[in-house]
Symmetry: C2
Subunit: 368 residues, 2 copies
């Protein structure tokens, strides 16, 4: 059952029903423009990651500023984007389910879709799905550039897998997926640069070996909000897969050289109890704001600390003696933006204290 929207355009911000996912539109547009400006002089294009925003509306705003398309983690996200008019969608992930592959192949008739492999078995499955649907699927080889999660070993094993894809009449070899997720959150700039450099080196070596076998990489994708300036400047990556830059969160703010983006995503919450000594309880717990990367911050209220989250309650410790009033609104800064977005059905876009727009979080949810 889709939730009713928590606001209407034209309302004052303090009339939004809480908890609600709020976008500060000025900061959000600043972030869109800043990423476009930073990538413009490099050889790399943006392929923004939908796993952050899960919204074809936001994807369109990114494409309008020069993004080549979107990447996604799941077929469900690819569907929502393709149905919402986004033309170029890459699943930066392996797919091993015949039902999911059939769904992806069906999308190939209305959009340019692709996926990744790190094992020949995935190639065989994709080939069968493409043949059954009568289309060709674009397939990239995912290499492990340091994260040790998915991805085949760079160099010869990756080249052999690419050749297997290229030989298939039902597939198109699309290039390399070379994402180093954990590097995004290395706090010290020098160590983060070193990790990004390792990804560049492994990727460059694999590209050269592919070229020796006559295989070109139309796409070399990777990079995120924490490292994208390294990958973009490398001359190796053609596409940057940043996602979080549109919103930001407490976790990214901990990078010592804070990325050049503004906090634009908030969870609006209301104080509903202040019966306890030195404590205010708000109507947002960990069902309303993700805590996998730590507790949220309280925006522009340094005397208030979000100390703990139950399912539906947040416990705020009042450190400066100024307990907020019952009914008072606070803005929380999510510890981690992607999973916080995934909790909600609606974005409420706010500018100058007024609700300007409502956008559905159209691709939310646990299903793949």
């Amino acid at each position: 059952m889709l939730q009713a929207p928590p606001a209407e355009p034209g309302m004052r911000e303090d009339e939004i029903d809480t908890p609600a996912l709020v976008i500060d539109l000025d900061a959000f547009e600043h972030n869109l423009d800043t990423m476009a400006a930073l990538l413009a002089p490099t050889g790399a294009k943006l392929r923004a990651h939908t796993k952050t925003h899960k919204s074809p509306v936001i994807a369109k705003l990114q494409v309008a500023r020069g993004a080549v398309g979107q990447c996604v983690q799941k077929v469900a996200e690819a569907e929502v984007l393709a149905w919402g008019g986004i033309q170029d969608v890459l699943v930066t992930n392996q797919i091993v389910s015949p039902r999911k592959l059939a769904r992806l192949a069906a999308l190939a008739r209305i959009a340019d879709v692709g996926l990744c492999a790190d094992d020949e078995a995935q190639v065989v499955m994709a080939e069968q799905a493409a043949e059954a649907a009568g289309i060709r699927l674009k397939m990239l080889v995912e290499i492990d550039v340091g994260m040790a999660r998915g991805g085949i070993e760079h160099g010869p094993p990756a080249v052999a897998l690419a050749e297997r894809i290229a030989r298939s009449p039902h597939l198109i070899f699309g290039g390399l997926q070379a994402y180093y997720g954990t590097a995004q959150h290395i706090r010290a700039p020098a160590a983060r640069a070193e990790a990004a450099q390792q990804a560049v080196t492994r990727t460059r070596r694999t590209i050269e070996q592919l070229k020796q076998r006559g295989l070109d990489c139309a796409i070399v994708g990777g990079g995120g909000t924490g490292t994208f300036q390294h990958e973009a400047a490398s001359g190796v990556y053609t596409e940057i897969q940043g996602g979080s830059y549109v919103f930001m969160d407490v976790d990214y703010a901990k990078n010592e050289d804070g990325p050049p983006f503004r906090q634009s995503l908030f969870v609006a919450t209301t104080v509903m109890s202040r019966a306890g000594q030195g404590i205010a309880v708000v109507d947002c717990g960990h069902k309303g704001v993700a805590v996998d990367c730590g507790m949220p911050g309280v925006w522009q209220r340094p005397g208030l600390r979000f100390a703990g989250a139950s399912d539906e309650h947040g416990k705020i410790v009042v450190e400066d003696g100024a307990t907020p009033a019952l009914g008072e609104r606070l803005r929380l800064v999510p510890g981690h933006c992607d999973p916080t977005v995934d909790r909600y059905d609606w974005y409420v876009g706010v500018r100058k204290g007024r609700v300007e727009c409502l956008w559905p979080v159209a691709a939310r949810g646990g299903m793949a």
Copy 2:
């Protein structure tokens, strides 16, 4: 956009699209029956907590086994239950939003609804909403019995607030809310019993003082899956607010005297990559299974350890050398059941390896 269901009745369990929220129906029914049997000889009735299951279907199964109704944390949950035919719904929480109070008052025409207060300001707001809607709202006083989150001090402050409610022509004094959430998860049985006993003592004292002022408590509610046998035996509590007992999770399993319920809730997931040494990657990360109480377990596979969750990837460390196959299905045991349920739109009910039913998680989502 509502997600398509990940399965159809009659399918084999291994055909369910993953990640998916799976109920083992035999274990689930065992849990429903066990709670009913344990409470039957006590003076207490079950008022099961919807915040766990968010489903009027499951609420009906609980009512059919003797539950007096449901409690909820949010007005959105109360709406879904009342619309789904549940007659008696208590919001075990404060409400300070006029819009939410108007929504709750509207429900009073189709169901028996109530809410809690720990401050006179909430009483005034509820009174105004009830008067505007032309109905009477039931209001309980929430007392702090040890959790230090919400709740007014027990004894005289609680009595004064109850008298204020009882004086209102638009409200009905409904009794006491006396829930000690953190006590549920105290690992050692003796320490947990002591915490529950403290809640009983504070509550009994307040009931006696209310009686001296001529106020009876129709409802004295509290207790959860970890402590309910203490509250039920106390002679003080009339209603037990257990929720998690229907599903269970890794966190409850850590209580040293494990509650008498079986694990019935799982997240079905699929191995999608095994390119890394000693690692299998599954298609369920922290967007698919809650990690606020720790990582999920891997059901009946002691050699596999769920070591880390990204947004959409779970990293499984293979400790016994037997790496699962690509495409192999695993059942994860959620670290915490309530927020895991909240990630999904559908339950898939399974019995003897076949899908038997699909139930919507009708009240899911961040909105209050």
